[in-house]
Amino acid sequence: MQDLKAILEALIFVSDTPVPFQRLRGLLPEWDEGIIRESLKSLVEDYRSREGGLYVAEVSGGYQIRSRESVREWVRRFRKERPFTLSRAALETLAIIAYRQPVVKAEIDVIRGVDSSGTLRNLLEKNLVRVAGRKDIPGKPIIYATTARFLELFHLRDLSELPTLRDWKDMTAP
């Protein structure tokens, strides 16, 4: 049991991207699925209770070791690069796509009241949004949806983890 947890930790550590559960399971045929799940849960808990600089994030259907938000200032100093940011236009467009997907550009434009072509291109370039096909109406407009990368960046296990729109609505205006 203890061995398995050490193996899992090492596998997650050496990966550049979140490691999906299925991948871990495939690598560890010696153990039962239930035991692997339990060990993962215990590993996540170990990091949480240790309150160190790292934690195990469960994102986009996988596991990833990340530095904590509380130490971001120093990590940024070390990284030297400008922290990743999204403009308000990008965030608005992304929010519409995340909640309304699959969605066509015309719907996004109507909600925002402005043309979103540039922003949309930018989101596609950043791989936060993908082309999910074409809508079967005249003109066959492109349908957009969010990507796994989106979940990864916004710290979401899956789309159901997004707070409901009602939650946002009830927020007082900033």
Partner: protein, 247 residues
């Protein structure tokens, strides 16, 4: 300078501006005082054109929608259908649109507070997110405002009587464009301050600024900034053109 002191709110579009006006006036979104809001909306468009900012057509479409609603509000309400149903308030469509936009605006702001990878939390290794992308974004969305601010900054520091007036130089934007291009050829890039502080008088500062805006519009040069309030750098618009031409 106080004559045209402008507080710039950067709006994401006409809906954002309208929402701002509605919240500022503390009025009910379902009962918008259309005359007041329309007037203020037009005032904002005026201010934007004072700055010579291109007013996106989206703003003009909304302006005509507002005028249309305003004119419909002046008409007497009459019962249209045989079942006695009255016509819907012409403001309802707009109210619904505004509320929907506001919901997503809030969602966007809330999403921005979530722990974001490569901003708040970090994985191992280098960031795979390409660096030039956000830079280009800044250039596209902020530079005109920032440039105007920086320009006013430089102008504000000119005191009358700084130096003597000898012969009034005949200036033209074309000449200034030539000079900027020469400077660019020589140095590869330069800062906004360098450019304007070399100009010896106020007229020259203004012409230089106009020339710079023209060059940016023509995409011959680009203005870069690492972050808000940081140094603005001017570089050739097409980054590889120089190296290809020479080597």
């Amino acid at each position: 300078m106080t004559g045209y002191e402008i507080r710039l709110n950067i709006f994401e579009g006409p809906l954002d501006l309208l929402l701002y006006l509605i919240r500022k006036n503390e009025v009910d979104i379902y009962d918008i005082p259309i005359a007041v809001i329309t007037e203020q909306y037009f005032q904002h468009l005026d201010r934007m054109s004072t700055l010579n900012l291109d007013i996106a057509s989206d703003y003009l479409v909304m302006a005509s929608t507002l005028l249309h609603i305003k004119s419909r509000m002046l008409l007497p309400v009459h019962e249209t259908r045989e079942n006695g149903e009255t016509e819907e308030d012409p403001r309802m469509d707009l109210a619904r649109q505004l509320l929907e936009y506001e919901t997503f605006k809030k969602a966007a702001l809330a999403m921005d507070t979530m722990p974001l990878l490569h901003r708040d939390v970090f994985p191992r290794g280098a960031s795979p997110i390409s660096e030039p992308a956000p830079e280009r974004e800044l250039v596209r969305e902020i530079t005109v405002f920032e440039l105007v601010e920086a320009f006013r900054d430089v102008l504000g520091r000119w005191k009358e009587g700084d130096g003597m007036e000898v012969n009034r130089e005949t200036l033209s934007v074309t000449d200034r464009i030539q000079e900027i291009l020469e400077l660019l050829n020589r140095k590869g890039s330069f800062t906004f301050k360098e450019l304007l502080e070399n100009a010896q008088d106020r007229t020259r500062v203004i012409y230089t600024f106009l020339a710079l805006l023209e060059l940016i519009k023509l995409r011959i040069v680009k203005a870069f900034q690492a972050g808000p309030y940081e140094t603005i750098r001017i570089r050739p618009g097409v980054s590889h053109a120089g190296s290809q031409g020479h080597s």
